[in-house]
Amino acid sequence: MASAPSKLYADDVSLLMVLLDTNPFFWSSSSLPFSVFLSHVLTFLNSILLLNQLNQVVVIATGYNSCSYIYDSSTSTNQGSDNGRMPARCVNLLQKLEEFVIKDEQLIKEGLREGIASSLLSGSLSMALCYIQRVFRSGPLHPQPRILCLQGSSDGPEQYVAIMNAIFSAQRSMIRIDSCYMGSSNSAFLQQASYITGGVYLKPQQPNGLFQYLSTVFATDLHSRAFLQLPKSLGVDFRASCFCHKKTIDLGYICSVCLSIFCKHHKKCSTCGSVFGQAQSDVNSTSNKKRKTPET
C-alpha cells in the first residue's frame, strides 16, 4: 500500500489537500469572521503555489450536510482575470464556494437534525484520500501528498467510526494529516488524526494572525520537516465514541471479537453478531467493564 516517493521529483514538491470548514453554525458564532478567515487561506494557497511550479493545491469544502471539491490547481488555468484586482484563481474558488454553500443550505432545510452542529469531516477526509489514491496510481511521478484540515466546528461523535477509518487508511498510505483547529476547545478527532499520521495539530492562539501560523507551520513541505522543530501537541484526547448511541465515553464495553465499543451491555454485538455471555455480567458488572481508553 505504502507508495515510495519518487526520487526523480524534487524533494519539496507537494500536493496539498485543504479541507475547508464552511459550517454556517460555527462561523456565525466565531470571533474570526469567515471572510477574514478566507482571505488568510487564499493568501496561503497562493503562497504554496508560488513556492514551486509543480506544487498542487486541491480545496475540498466541508459543509454541514455535504462536501465537494471546489478548487483544483491542476485543472484550472490561471487566465482570464477580468476584474483587475482579483486573480482568476480566487474568483473561481469563491464562485464554486458560494454555489456549494447555497446547495449545502438547501440540504439543511430538507432534513434538520438535532444536536451538535458538526461538519461532515469524515466525508471530506475520504474524498481527499480518494483523490490522493488516484494521484498515487497516476504513475511513478507524483508530488508528496498531505492533508490540511482547517476545521472550526466541534466533533460530531456520530462520525467517529468513519473518521477513524479514514485516519487509519491515511496512516497506511503514509499520508500526513495536519490540522489547524479554529474552534474554542480542542478537537479530539483532529488531535488523533494528526497524532496517528505524524502530522501537526495546532490551535492558533491568535486567530487574527492565521496567515503567519499557516505560512510558518503548515507551509513546511514534508522534506523540510525532518530538519525543523514543529509544534508538538501536549496531550491527545483518545476518547472514543460508542457505536450504539454515538456518545463520547470514558468507560465502556468492547466486543471481544470485533472490538466494537458500546456504552451499555448488549446481548449481541450489533456489528459482528457475536453473542455475549451474560452469566456474570449482571452480578459482577464492575469487573466486566473494561477500560476502553487505549494507553498508547
Binding site: 526523480l8 521529483y9 524534487a10 524533494d11 519539496d12 514538491v13 493568501t43 497562493n46 503562497s47 503555489l49 508560488l50 513556492l51 514551486n52 511550479q53 509543480l54 490561471n78 487566465q79 482575470s81 484586482r85 482579483m86 486573480p87 482568476a88 484563481r89 480566487c90 511513478p140 511521478l141 496567515f211 503567519q212 505560512s215 510558518t216 507551509a219 513546511t220 513541505d221 522534506h223 523540510s224 525532518a226 530538519f227 525543523l228 522543530q229
Partner: protein
C-alpha cells in the same frame, strides 16, 4: 547525471555573482522574485515565506531554535544562500546579536504576488487579430525540430537539412568547449561535448543559455537585463500570442536568437507581429530547480544487447550512434546493437559507462520504464565490465635497476624507494638476480642515493 545539477547551480551562482546594484534592480521585477524563490533550497523557501509578513529584524538565535540538530547544516546552507542572493540582510548589532531582515523590494513584490495572485507579464493578443495560431502539438513539434536542428548544427553533423539563422560567430561561442578543432581536421566532439549530448533537453538548454548570457556583454547587452527577460519569458503562457511591440529594442534582438533555438515562434500578421512561447521557454525557470523534466522515453534495450529506439529524430540516431552500432533505420524506429567495438569507441571518446547507462535509463520507453530495472541487468553489468576491461592495465613510467654489487646495497635501495612510496616491483628474496623497478619521477632521488652509497 551530476552535470545537470552543476549547470543549474551555476546559473544561480551567476545571478548571485551579479553586483549588488544589479541584483537589487533585478528584484524590482516580480517574476524574477518568483523564479529566484522557486530556485531556493526547500528550507530557504520556508524561511522567506515565514519572514514575509515580519517587518522587524529577526534574530538568528530565534531562527535556529526551529532547527533540529540533524538539520543544522541544511539551515546554514539555506541562510548562506539567502544572504548570497541578497534576499536576507545580515546585521550584527552592538550586543553581538545577529539579525536578519528580508530585502524590502523582494518582500513587497512577493507580498503583491501573494495577495493578487500571479499576473501575466503581458496580456496575450486577442484571438481575432491572431488568426493562425499553431496548435499545441504543432508548437511542440516546432520547438523540438528547431532545437534538434540547432544541436545538429552544433555538433557539425552532416545531416543538417537547413541551417538556422544563428550567426557563425555565435555558433563558435556555443561550440567552445564542446568541439575541439585541430588543424586540417574535421572538428571532433570533446569529452564534455559527448556528455552534453547525453543530458536532458532542459540541462542542454541551460548550458546554451548560460553561454549566451555570459557572452552578452560582448554584444553590448546588459547581462542583468537579459537574465530578467529570460526569466520573465518563462512565465508567459505556452501557445498564446504576445505582441512583439511590447518588447524593448534589445529584447526584440534577443527574441530572434531565441526563435532560432526554438524557445519562441515568431509570426507575422497583417499589421502586427507576435511571438508565441513554446514549452522550452516556459520550462526555463523549471530547470532552475533540481526537478528533472518529464520527457517521454523512447528506448527499449533487450537482454540480447539489441536496442530499439522509437524515434523519428536524427539527433537521437546520432546520439545512439555514439555508443551503439545502428543496424537499420525505419521511419519511426532505429534498431541498433550495443557491441564491444561500439562501446570501446565511446569510451575512447571519453563517455563513461555510467553516462550511457543513465541515458538508457532516463530515456527508457514507458513500457519498459515501469519495470525494475528498466535496462536489463546483464546489459548494464556488461557495459560496466567492458569499461573496467579498458582500465585493467595501468601505465606508470618507471626505471629498472639491476646489477647491484651487493645484497646490502640492493636491500638499502629497495628500502629507500619504499620510503618514497615509489617501489613498484622488486625481485623476490630467494632470486639470485637483484633488480627493482621504481617510478620514473623518483629516478633523481634514486640516482643520488646510489651514488652516495658507492662512495
Amino acid at each position: 547525471m551530476p552535470q545537470v545539477r552543476i549547470i543549474a547551480k551555476n546559473f544561480m551562482d551567476m545571478v548571485a555573482a551579479l553586483p549588488a546594484m544589479k541584483l537589487d534592480k533585478l528584484y524590482e521585477n516580480a517574476f524574477i522574485c518568483e523564479a529566484i524563490l522557486r530556485s531556493l533550497p526547500p528550507l530557504a523557501k520556508k524561511y522567506v515565506l515565514q519572514m514575509l509578513c515580519i517587518e522587524v529584524p529577526v534574530t538568528a538565535k530565534s531562527m535556529e531554535e526551529w532547527v533540529l540538530p540533524d538539520g543544522v547544516s541544511k539551515h546554514r546552507v539555506a541562510i548562506d544562500r539567502l544572504i548570497q542572493l541578497r534576499i536576507f540582510t545580515e546585521t550584527v548589532d552592538r550586543k553581538r546579536e545577529t539579525t536578519y531582515t528580508l530585502n524590502p523590494i523582494f518582500q513587497t513584490n512577493l507580498k503583491k504576488l501573494l495577495l493578487y495572485g500571479v499576473v501575466l507579464p503581458r496580456e496575450p493578443m486577442p484571438s481575432n487579430v491572431t488568426v493562425r495560431l499553431p496548435s499545441s502539438e504543432d508548437l511542440e513539434a516546432f520547438a523540438l525540430e528547431q532545437w534538434e536542428c540547432f544541436l545538429l548544427q552544433l555538433i557539425n553533423s552532416s545531416q543538417i537539412e537547413r541551417p538556422s539563422n544563428i550567426s557563425s560567430s555565435m555558433m563558435k561561442i556555443f561550440q567552445r568547449g564542446l568541439l575541439s578543432q585541430r588543424d586540417k581536421e574535421a572538428p571532433r566532439l570533446t569529452e564534455s561535448g559527448f556528455q552534453f549530448l547525453l543530458m536532458d533537453t532542459n540541462a542542454q538548454l541551460w548550458y546554451i543559455i548560460r553561454e549566451y548570457i555570459s557572452n552578452s556583454e560582448e554584444r553590448g547587452v546588459d547581462s542583468a537585463d537579459l537574465i530578467s527577460f529570460l526569466l520573465e519569458l518563462s512565465f508567459h503562457v505556452t501557445g498564446e500570442a504576445y505582441n512583439i511591440n511590447t518588447l524593448t529594442e534589445v529584447q526584440k534582438n534577443t527574441i530572434k536568437d531565441l526563435a532560432d533555438l526554438g524557445l519562441v515562434k515568431l509570426q507575422q500578421g497583417r499589421k502586427d507581429s507576435w511571438f508565441i512561447p513554446t514549452r522550452l521557454a516556459t520550462n526555463l525557470s523549471v530547470s532552475l530547480t533540481d526537478s528533472s523534466s518529464r520527457k517521454q522515453g523512447f528506448v527499449v534495450v533487450e537482454t540480447n544487447f539489441r536496442l530499439y529506439a522509437y524515434s523519428t529524430s536524427k539527433l537521437h540516431c546520432e546520439i545512439l550512434r555514439l555508443f551503439s552500432r545502428v543496424e537499420y533505420q525505419l521511419p519511426n524506429l532505429i534498431v541498433g546493437a550495443i557491441t564491444k567495438e561500439s562501446l570501446y569507441s565511446a569510451f575512447e571518446n571519453g563517455i563513461t559507462a555510467d553516462q550511457i547507462i543513465s541515458f538508457l535509463q532516463q530515456n527508457a520507453h514507458p513500457r519498459v520504464a515501469e519495470r525494475v530495472p528498466s535496462v536489463p541487468e546483464n546489459v548494464t553489468d556488461q557495459i560496466r565490465l567492458w569499461e573496467t576491461d579498458l582500465n585493467r592495465v595501468e601505465m606508470t613510467p618507471a626505471y629498472h635497476y639491476d646489477g647491484f654489487p651487493s645484497r646490502d646495497l640492493f636491500e638499502g635501495a629497495s628500502d629507500f624507494a619504499r620510503g618514497y612510496n615509489a617501489l613498484l616491483w622488486e625481485d623476490p628474496e630467494d632470486s639470485k638476480k637483484m633488480s627493482l623497478v621504481v617510478k620514473a619521477e623518483n629516478h633523481v632521488h634514486m640516482r643520488e642515493y646510489l651514488s652516495r652509497q658507492r662512495q
